[in-house]
């Protein structure tokens, strides 16, 4: 039997054009990763001379040996984990109940509070007032300051609020009839039903915290508390300013570029490991079967 052709020529062209565009976009996103990895495994001279394009040139682990032998690297790596895990947990503790409250029709002044939260997405006090605020609250140069200072994020609250609003009211009513109070409704019903949205918000928080650079640089003076991103900046500055190191450029097994690339690769690995675990929640259908549509 002849195969039925469900697609017109125009449809096929459209699909092909989409595939080509998506392919180009995917490659343009992927290439920086490949390039950085290739540089990190190349010799210092090859990287500095711009010989590395796609694969490592003069394959070597020298940059990694240099980076991994630094105690400061491990210290800053640990700090980044502390800021990321602590900050993400703190964010979720604030965002989840906040979003739930804003999603409830019975919240007194709901429209006003939603506006107040949304307002901070468009306007904020600015860098200097925020810095002064942190200073006056005694949150400078501390783990806690960096964790609590950036815990609340209006975009994430609104994202989660919208998801909570999409959950049928009958779940909440059923839980209330079953004897649940507001906190139990939230933690035993809404949170499990919102895993995809919470996973998304969690990933946003993790990435924002992991990549957090500017405020860590501004607020932290104590070298032992700086995260990896600030350490990366320091090592670039240190090696660039090191005249003795510069004179050995042609013979040294690593360069500023390869060391930078090696640190970047090290910093990317945890995110790459976490993503597949979070990704499984990025699916619809968690509400399937609970209510009859």
């Amino acid at each position: 039997m002849a195969k039925m052709n469900l697609y017109s020529r125009g449809d096929k062209l459209f699909v092909i054009a989409n595939m080509v565009l998506i392919g180009i976009f995917a490659l343009s996103t992927l290439y920086p990763f490949i390039y950085i990895a290739a540089v990190s495994f190349s010799s210092g001279f090859a990287a500095t001379a711009g010989k590395v394009i796609l694969t490592p040139v003069d394959l070597t682990l020298a940059a990694y040996e240099r980076v991994l032998s630094e105690p400061e690297f491990w210290r800053s790596y640990l700090n980044t984990f502390i800021y990321t895990i602590g900050g993400t947990l703190m964010s979720l503790i604030i965002i989840i109940p906040g979003a739930y409250a804003l999603s409830r029709p019975q919240l007194i002044g709901r429209r006003f509070w939603n506006l107040v939260v949304a307002f901070t997405m468009w306007f904020n006090a600015g860098m200097i007032p925020f810095f002064l605020n942190m200073r006056d609250l005694g949150l400078m140069d501390s783990y806690f300051g960096l964790i609590i200072g950036f815990a609340c994020n209006a975009f994430n609250i609104i994202l989660l609020r919208n998801f909570f609003e999409s959950i049928p009211a009958s779940f909440e009513e059923a839980a209330r009839m079953d004897g649940a109070n507001e906190f139990q409704v939230l933690w035993k019903v809404f949170v499990p039903l919102s895993k995809p949205a919470i996973a998304t918000v969690t990933l946003f928080c993790i990435v924002a915290r992991w990549n957090g650079f500017f405020w860590a640089m501004v607020l932290l003076q104590d070298e032992s508390k700086i995260p990896l991103q600030v350490y990366l900046r320091q090592i670039i500055a240190t090696l660039s300013d090191d005249e003795e190191f510069a004179s050995t450029l042609l013979t040294a097994p690593y360069s500023v570029e390869t060391v930078t690339a090696a640190i970047i690769v090290c910093s990317i690995i945890p995110v790459l490991i976490i993503y597949p675990f979070v990704q499984k929640y990025f699916n619809k259908g968690i509400l399937l079967g609970g209510v009859k549509e």
């Binding site: 009839m177 004897g179 109070n181």
Partner: protein, 366 residues
């Protein structure tokens, strides 16, 4: 005792009043069905009893306890929702146990209760399944299990069968009836389906526009509707209603339906009322296709014959008004196409005031 008393219950949303001072006394162990068209206030009334809607005015008493300001969880009522509202992340056992776990009942006791309920509802083999892996009927049973496991004073059902197909609905209807018989818990059931109301209820409450039109036992409502609304709502197909004018003397009142004079019952309210506009109500099952002594015969043209198996519906019209006859087929419908007259016994006719829609009740009906 676990009765429920609604005393002048009112519900307002801003300026709009949707429930207008309902008075209703539900006896312990009684099965009461609130029935009416969409927007009549039946679900709102149920939700006020559940505590999911605030009561704007009036008093609500459950088991001799004034509960207007009592939270839903403390009213000792359980509700079965129209859309099941099962927690999709929990399996059947966890769904049934949810309310007990919230109330911090001890684990062995929970396990025992869940197992008992599963046994009653035939869910024992499905306890490990998630709602998504269950059929519609099984999900509805889980929803009921979640309600009965707590042994509440009152069960509330909000159109629980409306999402099921016809066959399953009939089956579940019987299960609910059986369950009520077994547990003897006061139950309030909301539906827009008069068949469900007739089959399940000890008493039916017919509602319209936020008011109670009539309260009574199913057959009382069927036989003695208080107005044209109830007459049209209870019974399937609904009562034929034909507008006419009272004619003749007090001893032999009649009305002209189409071009035929049809004898009316001798009601005291019709005495001296010649010329008064009325609505003549005839149940489809009271319109006969075989001659009966003393019955009025109305000639008719058949529009359509609908076969239901043991019964058939003959669609015709009297004047311009559609008229339906319900008759038994006795296994053959060919003879139905030859029907050219319908016979109406005056005693089976209901007469309503055309202006108010209220029935002219027979004196013995009170």
């Amino acid at each position: 005792m676990s009765g429920v008393v609604l005393d002048k219950i009112v519900k307002r949303y801003g300026a709009a009043q949707v429930v207008h001072g309902i008075d209703l006394q539900i006896e312990p162990q009684e099965f009461v069905v609130l029935v009416g068209p969409s927007g009549c206030g039946k679900s709102t009334t149920l939700r006020m009893i559940a505590g999911l809607e605030e009561i704007s005015d009036g008093n609500l008493t459950i088991a001799d306890r004034h509960v207007n300001n009592v939270a839903p969880k403390d009213r000792d009522v359980a509700m079965v929702f129209q859309n099941y509202a099962l927690y999709p992340h929990l399996n059947v056992a966890e769904n049934i146990a949810f309310g007990l776990r919230i109330r911090k009942v001890k684990k062995p006791e929970i396990a025992k209760s869940v197992s008992e309920v599963a046994e009653i509802l035939g869910l024992t083999d499905y306890l490990d399944r998630r709602p998504a892996d269950l059929s519609g009927g099984q999900r509805q049973r889980v929803a009921m299990g979640r309600a009965i496991v707590r042994h509440p004073e009152v069960f509330l059902f909000d159109e629980p069968l409306s999402n099921l197909d016809a066959k399953l609905r009939t089956q579940m209807r019987a299960e609910i009836k059986r369950l009520h018989k077994r547990l003897g818990v006061t139950s309030i059931y909301v539906t827009h389906d008069q068949v469900e109301a007739m089959t399940l209820a000890d008493r039916i409450v017919v509602m319209r526009d936020g008011r109670i039109e009539q309260i009574g036992r199913p057959m009382d409502l069927f036989n003695n509707p208080v107005n044209t609304f109830v007459a049209g709502f209870i019974g399937s197909p609904p009562m034929n209603q034909l507008t006419a004018v009272v004619e003749g003397g007090d001893d032999a009142p009649f009305a002209t339906l189409g071009e035929t004079k049809v004898k009316l019952p001798k009601l005291p309210q019709l005495q001296g009322q010649a010329g008064r506009k009325v609505v003549v109500g005839i149940r489809p099952e009271h319109a006969l296709i075989t001659p009966v002594d003393g019955a009025s015969a109305i000639p008719l043209d058949l529009d359509l014959v609908e076969t239901l198996g043991s019964e058939a519906l003959l669609h015709t019209h009297v004047g311009d008004t559609p008229f339906v006859i319900k008759t038994e087929t006795h296994g053959d419908i060919d003879h139905l196409y030859d029907v050219d007259k319908v016979y109406i016994n005056a005693e089976k006719i209901k007469v309503f005031d055309a202006e108010t829609g209220d029935v002219f009740a027979h004196p013995t009906q009170g």
